[in-house]
């Protein structure tokens, strides 16, 4: 099976990097993966979308992802402007960064996984220029919701991406999110 994942974030949050790290983790496990942004002008603060495909076997797909299995929302505020569930498969999962148990009428049909990635990030000091960096924490939550890859693989992918302490802290964010995420 090919898992298709869509990430919703805002310019400056590392949304595209999140997608890529997920793929790196999968590839390190011998799986096949692919990630790509929706390319427009990425402005700081503006809604941003990125995609990933993870599968056991290599495939030939290069078309866009319109009916994802998993949707990841790095920033709840996006939901005010964008219908994040657009195209989500019926048995799909929503992974949302939210404090408190998040539930919204319109999301009733989907499985929801909630994590307070912002809190985790803040507690780890993950913020740059006013932005709380939640992308790595969200990766932990995703694999909690759907065991695409092991959380250790995520953590390694993160460590390979950033040197030393930065890598460690981010890996830790993923780990904590993995632990703290709640699948509703």
């Amino acid at each position: 099976m090919i898992y298709e994942i869509r990430f919703h974030g805002r310019g400056g949050q590392g949304t595209v990097t999140a997608a890529e790290l997920l793929v790196k983790a999968a590839v390190a496990e011998g799986k096949w993966g692919q990630s790509f942004p929706f390319f427009g002008a990425e402005r700081r603060g503006a809604p941003v979308v990125a995609f990933a495909r993870i599968s056991e076997e290599k495939h030939f797909l290069h078309s866009q992802i319109t009916e994802p299995n998993i949707i990841v929302v790095l920033d709840k505020k996006i939901m005010e402007a964008v219908d994040v569930t657009d195209g989500l498969k019926e048995d799909g999962v929503l992974v949302i960064n939210s404090s408190g148990l998040f539930s919204k009428e319109s999301l009733r049909n989907f499985r929801i996984c909630v994590v307070d990635a912002t809190k985790i990030a803040v507690s780890l000091g993950l913020s740059v220029a006013g932005w709380v960096i939640v992308n790595t924490a969200m990766l932990g939550a995703i694999v909690k919701a759907v065991p695409l890859v092991k959380v250790e693989s995520i953590m390694n992918a993160i460590r390979n991406n950033w040197p030393e302490r930065v890598g460690e802290i981010n890996a830790e964010a993923a780990r904590r999110a993995y632990e703290e995420a709640t699948v509703l």
Binding site: A41, R43, R44, G45, A46, A129
Partner: protein, 301 residues
């Protein structure tokens, strides 16, 4: 002129695609306030292309021609030629980035200037190819990091206003988005002159220069205050300092350039040696200006 006298109308509508704190937007807003609604705008590939939005909408309320990267001055010459032959009398205004001006658009610019086409060419200089993601342009200053000059650019900033002044056109000016009235007055002056007018607008870009978005104006002011950017105009060959630059001829009056550099992430890596080179460059440029001004005094112009 006073802020209160300025046109209340907006010529670039809000909710457009500029980055928060964008200097290109500020520049365009100010042009609108100087020009009003009777003008035709020409825009080459640049951040502006993106800023004004996606078909079938546009944030710009003036008639606007998007055109290929290398061609804004030529396309504007064409518009101007058509207006002339049709007996219409609207100003034609190019609003181009530094790449589209100093690099790939330079030839068309130089050609139009030599033919003394009746257009106003405004370059907003954010000192790199910002739209494609911060690559070096010829106006990137010495020492600045870009994605194609990781250790800092090795060459000095191309002095486009000086090059344009060497074209003997009726009007050349520099300006800064931090000094709106100065800029608007220059645009208004340009509107009254027939022939080729060139205005080079310094436009600190938070995204590309790596400073927080609220500091756009502050950085612009520091550029002028440290003398790294000089405000002047050259009307029929006569150079005049304008705005705060009038009082910065003597080195002592200028702030140390470090104040300008240190707020910008793109200069984070630079060494003291490099700072010295930058200071020297500034010093030299001011010397040139001083020379000209003194001479003009001697000659009574």
């Amino acid at each position: 002129m006073n802020i209160k006298d300025l046109d209340r109308e907006e010529y670039i509508l809000s909710g457009n695609s500029s980055c928060p704190g964008c200097p290109a937007s500020i520049g365009f807003r100010l042009i609108g306030k100087a020009v009003g609604k009777n003008a035709i705008i020409v825009i080459p590939a640049s951040c502006m292309t993106i800023i004004h939005g996606v078909y079938p909408h546009t944030a710009i309320t003036l008639p606007t021609l998007n055109i290929a990267f290398a061609t804004s001055a030529a396309a504007a010459s064409g518009v101007s030629a058509a207006l002339e032959i049709k007996g219409k009398n609207y100003p034609v205004i190019v609003y181009a980035g530094d790449g589209g001006t100093a690099d790939i658009g330079l030839q068309a610019l130089s050609g139009s200037a030599e033919r003394n086409e009746n257009i106003i060419y405004i370059c907003y200089d954010n000192e790199a190819y910002q739209n494609t993601g911060i690559q070096r342009s010829s106006t990137t200053p010495y020492g600045a990091w870009t994605t194609t000059t990781l250790k800092g650019k090795q060459e000095k900033k191309k002095d486009v206003p000086k090059i344009m002044a060497s074209h003997n056109i009726p009007y050349v000016a520099t300006a800064s988005i931090a000094y709106p009235i100065d800029f608007i007055e220059k645009v208004k002056k340009a509107l009254k002159i027939k022939g080729f007018k060139y205005i080079h607008l310094h436009a600190p870009c938070p995204t590309g220069w790596r400073f927080p978005s609220e500091k756009t104006i502050e950085v612009g002011r520091l550029a002028v205050g440290t003398g790294a950017w000089i405000l002047y105009e050259i009307e029929n060959g006569v150079l005049k300092l304008t705005g705060p630059s009038k009082n910065l001829i003597e080195e002592g009056a200028r702030k140390p350039v470090q104040e300008y550099l240190k707020v910008q992430g793109r200069f984070q890596h630079i060494t003291d040696e490099m700072v010295k080179v930058i200071s020297c460059e500034i010093e030299e440029r001011w010397n040139g200006i001083k020379m000209v001004i003194n001479l003009q005094k001697v000659n009574g112009t």
